[in-house]
Symmetry: C2
Subunit: 143 residues, 2 copies
DNA sequence: TATTGTTATACTCTATAACTATA
DNA sequence: TATAGTTATAGAGTATAACAATA
């Protein structure tokens, strides 16, 4: 059944992500945070908490770790002295650029043998599934 | 790009799984263990460690938790006094039966609107991607 | 009074290493 | 000597609650 394949794929992707990141001294959770910074630029921890859907306390820990490894830096907020701005260090920015390239090459290797039509069909279906997921889980409680 | 959709889907599925399971007092890791028991019947902890690809120490913790919540039980191995056989309690077996049904109904809701041809194409592509993933990650190190 | 980030505390998953009981 | 499972220890991710500084 398709769902089983999908779940299996989920597990595989997750494990592979974890292992690949460990080789760079990163974790999945920390990489999500880096990715958010890469896309949005400097953020307050509050904004990161909202973006990643975790508690502010959790962000404190993730930024602690990333700052210790030299990927991020805490800077004072220019107008609000309660806030800190989390920014990518040059190293952190480099790592994220490499990661963007890595995703591209992984995609090429994974999907490279598919015809454009197949690719389109797959992406369309994935989008469809993604959209339905929301509705489905809103009513999953009666299970 | 298709990979982005796939990763997004991975994250969504993962979060949803986590939340759905929390409503039943379970976690993803513990459910993997229950699923293995559901499919293979009573297992030694060693066998579970191999099946889930985690350390024996980790299995000790998971079985501790599941036994405390009444999903599993430890029984003496009939011939090897070093081993314990982990079994599903009646409650645990019931939960897993419900989960098998739940997966079916979730699949129906997610994929129900797709034509058989679309479903087949999606499943085929997922299998293809799954297979390629192995090769791809064996050579991902040059990144 | 409300918000930002922290400290305090706790639980789960995970790993390695040392140890006990058995094989 | 090797194997099954445990205790000991540690680190990461996550949560809630109480608190300090600031708005």
């Amino acid at each position: 059944m398709a769902l089983d394949r999908l779940l299996e794929l989920t597990v595989l992707l997750n494990d592979d992500m974890t292992n690949a990141l460990r080789r760079e001294g990163l974790t999945v959770a920390r990489t999500h945070l880096l990715w958010a910074l890469h896309q949005r630029g400097p953020c307050t921890q509050r904004a990161l908490a909202d973006e990643l859907n975790v508690t502010p306390r959790n962000i404190t820990g993730l930024v602690d770790g990333l700052t210790e490894t030299g990927h991020t830096r805490r800077e004072p907020h220019p107008t609000d002295r309660r806030s800190t701005l989390v920014t990518l260090t040059p190293t952190g920015a480099l790592v994220m650029k490499g990661m963007a390239r890595g995703r591209l090459s992984l995609a090429t290797r994974l999907f490279g043998e598919l015809s454009p039509a197949e690719l389109e069909a797959f992406a369309g279906t994935a989008a469809h599934v993604s959209a339905r997921l929301r509705d489905a889980l809103a009513t999953e409680d009666e299970r």
